[in-house]
Every structure is written in structure tokens, then in C-alpha cells.
């Protein structure tokens, strides 16, 4: 038996579909240029994709055909040499729309394997977001704003080739820089892209993440029922309607919190979250009415608290809120838990205002790629600048 290599690319459905495919293909083609066979595929359960929902692509390479076949006998690899998170908020965990539970971003990493993340954050911030792993692994950051496109448009900001450069650095037995550059020239005919890959190769450094570092939470899991335990007729009990909320100051009940699916939470779809200024809210109900996932809890004092276990970060509430800066979408990286904003506000209104202002300031604008016309043209030069200069 020769050697088998597996790389997974974890990405945001639709927005990063082409990006993930480019990376996966690039790895397999570069390995092929070095005489190693391989395959590139997307996790079928993730498709058809939904906006922002975590999804996966895999590149499997063997040193020979028989070894590759060993790797292909299992549809999804059980362990990988490299995990690539093309959006840093994926470090909080991955819940596919095809319902596999919440998976830590580093779940499939082999001991000593490498996690590559595209981010503008420092290693410490990313390590804190990732779930703890029982053995050490390496973290490498490809610096830049995570690259988001639409279904029909690809933002060619060199993220794909920069990651290929980083892969060559981290696992030279899989692909060397020379093969990567050769494939880039053949695929894109763009010498600048080959240069970007070389820059990333030169700059990639790693931080070792120890088992005592990271988010100590156990991700939620569930057992799939046996066939005779399931209700017949593909009948699924509904989520019950929900209940009034309790005001922790006077213990009065009021408002309404809908019950939510305990096993499909959706919050790992979020790359931005809404923060609400309860002091300027005019209780117009629009956010509550328009949220596509019924995420707002109606509080006993008639306010609307976006529930962070359920919110997928679509930004509709921000768009419909009639009060300036009352609902603001903020980069998800700036938060460490899913705590209720309304409870924070109730506890200490001044402290909440300080917290809120800090969060709003913090935001570098993130984007799903279609917020306004001309945005790509604005962002791409900046990304290319980062690719060149680091």
C-alpha cells in the first residue's frame, strides 16, 4: 500500500461553492501533475445547497491507483490530513443542512494534521472558536476577508490559489509548489495567480494548537432512531407552539418564545449576527414578522430578541428595521456565545450600550456577495493587495 492523502474543504453553501471546487480540483490536478491519481467531489447530502449552510468538498489522492481505491471505498473520509475552512466563522462548528449534527471544524483532522483558515483574525481568536481536540494539530491562516460570491458570479480574488500555495507548504508530499503553479497556469492562464500561490507558500506559518486550547463545549449530538422506533408513514411530530417568556426581574411571564427544533439549530449558517439596540426600538414588529425562520422571541416587555440558537444571519431584520442603527449585522467572529441580548440589556443597560457600540465598531463589513452593485469591484483590488503584500 502506498500513501493516501485526504483534504476537506469546508465552505459556505452557494456563496463559496466555486471556490471550494477550485481548491479541490487544484489539489487533485497538481497531485496528478506529480504522477499521483486522485478524485475531487462534494458531499452529496449538502446538495442542492442553501445560502451559507456549511457544506464540504473533498480531495482524495493516493500514491497509486490501488491506494486511491482504498480511499474511495468510503464515500466520505473518516480522517483528513488537512481541513480547509474558507470562512473563519466555520471554526464555530459545522451543521450541514443534510442534518449530521454539529461537527467541530477540526473533527476529521489526523494527529498533527493542519487546519487552514482564511481570516483577518489572529490565531488566538480562531483557536478560541474551534472545539477542543484530544491531540495537537496545526493552524495556518491565509490572511484575508473570507471570499464570498453568488451562485452565478465568481469573485476571483486569488483565495483559491493562495490556499493551494499553503497546502503545498503544509503537505509537500501531497503537492509541491511547482506542480501547483503548473496547474494554475494551465487552468487559469494567469501568471499573477501563480505568483499569488508562491507568496502564500512563502508566508504560510503554523501555530500548534494544544489539547487544552479551544472551546470546551461538547457539540450537540443525537442518535438516529432504529427503523422500528420511527413513526410510520414518514410522519414527523411537529415542533410544539412554544410558551410565554419570563422576566427575570419581576418573574412575570409574557411575550412568546416559539419552540425550536432541538436537533437542527442552523446557527452555524451564520457569518453575521444582528445586534439590537433595545433603547431605540419602537416595537414596530417588523423584524419579528419578516424573519424567515421565526427567530425573534417576544419578550414580556414587548421587545424582540433575536434568538442566537436559531438565527441563520440572513440580515433581513436589519434591512426591514425602520430605526437607524437599531438592528445592525456584525461579523460573527466578534461573539463567543449565543447568549440573549435582551437578558444582557435587562441586567445592565449602560454596560449593554458599551458592549453594543464595541460590537458595531468592530465590524469590518462582511458580505454574502450581493449586498450592492459594484461591491465585487470594490473588494477584489483590496484582496489582491493582501495577496501581494501580505
Amino acid at each position: 500500500m502506498g500513501r493516501l492523502f485526504a483534504v476537506e474543504i469546508v465552505y459556505r453553501g452557494i456563496f463559496q461553492k466555486t471556490l471550494a471546487k477550485n481548491i479541490s480540483r487544484g489539489i487533485v490536478l497538481a497531485a496528478h501533475a506529480e504522477g499521483k491519481p486522485g478524485i475531487s467531489f462534494g458531499r452529496y447530502g449538502d446538495s442542492p445547497e442553501r445560502n451559507g449552510i456549511p457544506a464540504k468538498n473533498f480531495a482524495i489522492v493516493g500514491t497509486d491507483d490501488v491506494t486511491l481505491e482504498e480511499g474511495m471505498a468510503k464515500y466520505e473520509p473518516t480522517e483528513v490530513d488537512i481541513s480547509i475552512a474558507v470562512d473563519d466563522t466555520l471554526c464555530k462548528g459545522v451543521e450541514s443542512w443534510a442534518w449530521y449534527g454539529l461537527q467541530p471544524i477540526n473533527r476529521l483532522l489526523k494527529p498533527g494534521g493542519a487546519l487552514i483558515v482564511t481570516s483577518r483574525e489572529q490565531p488566538d481568536a480562531l483557536i478560541a472558536m474551534c472545539h477542543r481536540k484530544e491531540y495537537p494539530y496545526r493552524l495556518a491562516i491565509v490572511k484575508g476577508t473570507p471570499s464570498f460570491s453568488g451562485l452565478w458570479v465568481y469573485k476571483d480574488d486569488h483565495t483559491d490559489v493562495r490556499i493551494l500555495g499553503a497546502v503545498a507548504k503544509l503537505l509537500p508530499d501531497l503537492v509541491g509548489l511547482e506542480a501547483v503553479q503548473k496547474v494554475i497556469l494551465a487552468e487559469w492562464r494567469d501568471p499573477l495567480k501563480a505568483t499569488s500561490a508562491a507568496r502564500a507558500y512563502e508566508r504560510t506559518t503554523t501555530t500548534t494548537v494544544r489539547p487544552d486550547q479551544g472551546n470546551p463545549e461538547k457539540p450537540y449530538q443525537f442518535e438516529l432512531p432504529k427503523w422500528w422506533e420511527m413513526r410510520e408513514g414518514i410522519a414527523i411530530p411537529c415542533i410544539r407552539p412554544g410558551q410565554p417568556m419570563q422576566d427575570m426581574d419581576n418573574h412575570k411571564t409574557g411575550g412568546f418564545r416559539p419552540e425550536r427544533n432541538p436537533t437542527f439549530k442552523k446557527f452555524t449558517t451564520r457569518t453575521m449576527r444582528p445586534v439590537v439596540n433595545f433603547d431605540t426600538c419602537i416595537k414596530c414588529t417588523l423584524c419579528w414578522l419578516q424573519c424567515p425562520d421565526s427567530c425573534f422571541d417576544v419578550t414580556p416587555d414587548g421587545l424582540y430578541d433575536a434568538n442566537m440558537e436559531a438565527c441563520c444571519g440572513c440580515g433581513v431584520c436589519e434591512a426591514v428595521c425602520p430605526v437607524t442603527d437599531c438592528v445592525t449585522m456584525v461579523n460573527e467572529v466578534a461573539f463567543h456565545d449565543n447568549a440573549s441580548q435582551w437578558e444582557m440589556w435587562k441586567k445592565d443597560k449602560d454596560a449593554y450600550q458599551t458592549w453594543l457600540n464595541g460590537k458595531i465598531e468592530h465590524r469590518p463589513e462582511r458580505s454574502h456577495g450581493f449586498r450592492y452593485r459594484g461591491q465585487y469591484e470594490e473588494q477584489t483590488p483590496e484582496m489582491l493587495e493582501i495577496a501581494r503584500e501580505g
Binding site: 427503523w227 420511527m230 408513514g233 414518514i234 410522519a235 414527523i236
Partner: protein, 407 residues
């Protein structure tokens, strides 16, 4: 209670001269079906016409919906059944095929829909006559399939079908096949059972925890991935497995309440006791076969006949045990399965598969006969019997032969 009802209802039983289609419409009325959907296609349309007449005459109270196509026809009753209505529908030939998507989704949702298929050749060419390929097309999907050969049996089987399909252990749809023309358009004398007896035989439809109702909030027919499909299929398969015993119970109770005997529910045996060779078939070809057998017996040829009623569930072991008693078996298919093993028919292929595990394995020959409503004649039956006798005597015969073909 069944006994008491049997006595009292004796006098109220009437005899009517009606077609197989009309007999099924009468069964709908007796079963007090709630929702019926219709879309015209010959020969099934005879049922919808008769139901419409019963409704128009004020004899039968049901929601009678003429859909805009067969697909909607079966979708409407599927939904009505999910909310607790007893339903009836039906079609023929390519109309049944047009509903195919609706037909495939019904078994896994455990919808005990009862329908009538007026068997008709599939287009092209457009033809009205009987072939069994229409109903057989759903044979792998979780539909219970039964063939009848008389108007009386059509009526009785429709009542039995509701009882079996709506049994919580089963909850699977059931299609009753009636040969186009020979049964759908021929009137025979039919005993119409009294309402009391039918009520004693047929309990109300209870959907229990699968009822789509605000008091039982569930969602049905969701999108599900590979983590769920096998378990769902296994559940549907379990319903079909249990159906065999439920069918037996239903026939036993039918006999007790109505006094009409059908013997083995799964297949009827005719003149088999001392037979050397047997023919096997489904539906109305039983008439020429029986007449030919009586002729041949007068000549000392011991031929018997096994008429398969329930094709799904298929009584494989029992049928194989029965057929193993003879020295050769000839299966008459009023259908075809082009390119199948031995280029034969569906029934022959199933019979051979059933015989594979049997201890006694006489040769099984297949005959394609009576397609598109062509008559299966007495001489045809004699010819087929001669061929299987040859095989029984050790002279090998081709596995599939077309009988009654101009050649």
C-alpha cells in the same frame, strides 16, 4: 355478533345484474366511502359513471371530485386519506401511468387508498383491450395488487380490500384489477350484501397517530436524506409482510359474515386434485381455461388450473408448494416483460422465482396470450396444455411462447 347479523340480513340481500365496474361502485357505497376522485378513461370510466349515478340519485353521499388529470385524481385522494377520509379512485392504461408519481408516493406515506384498475393495454397503439401491464407497473412500490374474475368477486374483494388496506398493521394502498371489457363491460348476476353485514365486517377507518389533524400536529412527506431512506423502506416492507396474515383474517371473517367462501385467498385451484399438469393465470381468462379443462378431462387429460388473485403480497411459498405437486406448469401472461429472463411475462418470471427455493421443481413454461384484449380461446388453452404435457413427458419446450399470434 357476526353470527346474529348473518341471520337477520339473509332476507335483505338482493341480486342485481351489473358489470364488474358497477359492482365496485356498489361496494364503494356499501363501504360508505367519503371521497372519490374521477377522471375519464376507458374502461375504468364505467366505475366513475356508476358512482356519479348513485350520487345523483341520492343513494350515496360522498365528495365526488372530477379532477383535471389522473395525477391530481390520485393526489387528491392521497391527501383526503391522510386527513382521515375513506377514499376511492381508479384508472386504466396510460391514465394510470400519468398518475405514476402520485402512485409511487402513496405506499411510504401509508395511505390505505383502494382503487380499481380497469386493465387496459398501454399506448401505443391506442387500444382499449385488456393487458395487465398497467397495474403491474406498480408491483415493486408497496401497492397491494389483486385480480378478480367476476363481478361478484369484484364487489366482495373491494370490501375486503378496505378491510385489509385500512388495517393499522398494513396501511398500504390496494389496487383491484378488473379486465377491460371481459369484466368492466359485462353484466353478471351479483348478490348485493346488506348494509348491516358490511358494517359488521368493515370497521371505521382510524388513522391514529398518522392522522393529519390540528389535534395531532405532524408533518408528512418531508425531504429526507440517506440517513432515513432505508429505515422508511423497511417500515413499508414490514407493512407488506404483515398484509399476508391480515388478508387471511379478512377472508375468514368475510366467509363467516357473508357466507360466501373463497377458499385460499391468494389463489383459486380448479380441478387440481388429480391433475398432472396445471395452467396458471390471472383475471377473466379463467373462463375459457375452465371450459377447456372440462373438455380435456372428458378426453382423459388431467389438466388443472391455478388462478392467482393476490399478486402483491405474492404467496410465494404456498404457491410453490402447490405447483410442486404437478409434473409441469404453464403460466399464461396477459402481459409482457420485454427483455426479461427468457423474454417472457411478469407472472411467469415471478412464479419461477417463487419455485427456486421449492423442493419439487417441475418445468415452468411461459405463454404470452390475449394481449390488447385478444380473446384467449378454448383452442388456445388446449394448445398450451398440450405443450406443457409434452414438457411433463420429458420433451423440452421453449421457455416462452406466444399463443394466438398470427404467424
Amino acid at each position: 355478533m357476526a353470527q346474529a347479523v348473518a341471520h337477520r340480513a339473509e332476507e335483505t340481500e338482493k341480486t342485481a345484474l351489473i358489470t364488474g365496474s358497477e359492482a365496485i361502485a356498489v361496494a364503494c357505497k356499501l363501504a360508505d366511502v367519503d371521497v372519490i376522485t374521477a377522471y375519464p378513461i376507458r374502461p375504468y370510466d364505467t366505475v366513475m359513471q356508476y358512482v356519479a349515478k348513485l350520487v345523483a340519485n341520492g343513494e350515496f353521499d360522498c365528495e365526488y371530485i372530477v379532477a383535471e388529470s389522473e395525477h391530481s385524481q390520485f393526489e387528491i385522494v392521497k391527501h383526503a386519506s391522510a386527513v382521515g377520509a375513506r377514499v376511492f379512485s381508479g384508472s386504466s392504461g396510460v391514465g394510470w401511468m400519468y398518475a405514476f408519481e402520485a402512485l409511487t408516493v402513496t405506499p411510504a406515506l401509508r395511505i390505505p387508498m383502494v382503487v380499481m384498475v380497469g386493465n387496459r393495454a398501454l399506448d401505443d397503439p391506442g387500444a382499449f383491450g385488456v393487458e395487465h401491464n398497467d397495474a403491474l407497473a406498480v408491483r415493486d412500490l408497496g401497492w397491494q395488487l389483486v385480480w378478480v374474475d367476476s363481478a361478484q368477486e369484484a364487489l366482495d374483494t373491494a370490501l375486503i380490500a378496505y378491510r385489509v388496506a385500512e388495517d393499522r398493521r398494513v396501511f398500504l394502498p390496494c389496487a383491484i384489477s378488473c379486465d377491460g371489457a371481459f369484466l368492466t363491460h359485462s353484466q353478471g348476476l351479483v348478490k348485493i350484501p346488506s348494509q348491516d353485514k358490511v358494517d359488521a365486517f368493515l370497521p371505521p377507518y382510524q388513522r391514529g397517530d398518522l392522522l393529519l389533524h390540528p389535534d395531532n400536529p405532524i408533518t408528512i412527506a418531508p425531504q429526507a436524506n440517506e440517513d432515513w431512506l432505508m429505515e422508511i423502506r423497511r417500515q413499508t416492507a414490514a407493512g407488506m409482510e404483515r398484509s399476508t396474515a391480515v388478508i387471511r383474517e379478512a377472508y375468514a371473517e368475510f366467509e363467516q359474515i357473508f357466507g360466501r367462501k373463497y377458499g385460499n385467498p391468494f389463489f383459486e385451484e380448479y380441478a387440481t386434485e388429480d391433475a398432472d399438469v396445471v395452467l396458471v393465470g390471472m383475471g377473466t381468462l379463467s373462463t375459457p381455461v375452465k371450459v377447456a379443462i372440462r373438455q380435456m378431462r372428458r378426453e382423459g387429460k388431467k389438466v388443472g388450473f391455478v388462478r392467482v388473485r393476490w399478486f402483491r403480497p405474492f404467496a410465494a411459498e404456498e404457491l410453490a408448494r402447490t405447483l410442486g405437486r404437478f409434473s409441469a406448469v404453464g403460466v399464461i401472461d396477459r402481459d409482457f416483460s420485454l427483455g426479461s429472463p427468457h423474454l417472457g411475462g411478469v407472472l411467469a418470471t415471478e412464479v419461477r422465482a417463487a419455485m427456486y427455493l421449492a423442493t419439487s421443481q417441475p418445468p415452468v413454461l411461459g405463454f404470452i396470450c390475449g394481449l390488447g384484449g385478444r380473446e384467449v380461446t378454448v383452442p388456445d388453452v388446449r394448445k398450451m396444455s398440450d405443450i406443457i404435457r409434452e414438457a411433463a413427458e420429458g420433451h423440452p419446450q421453449p421457455p416462452t411462447q406466444w399463443i394466438g399470434l398470427r404467424e
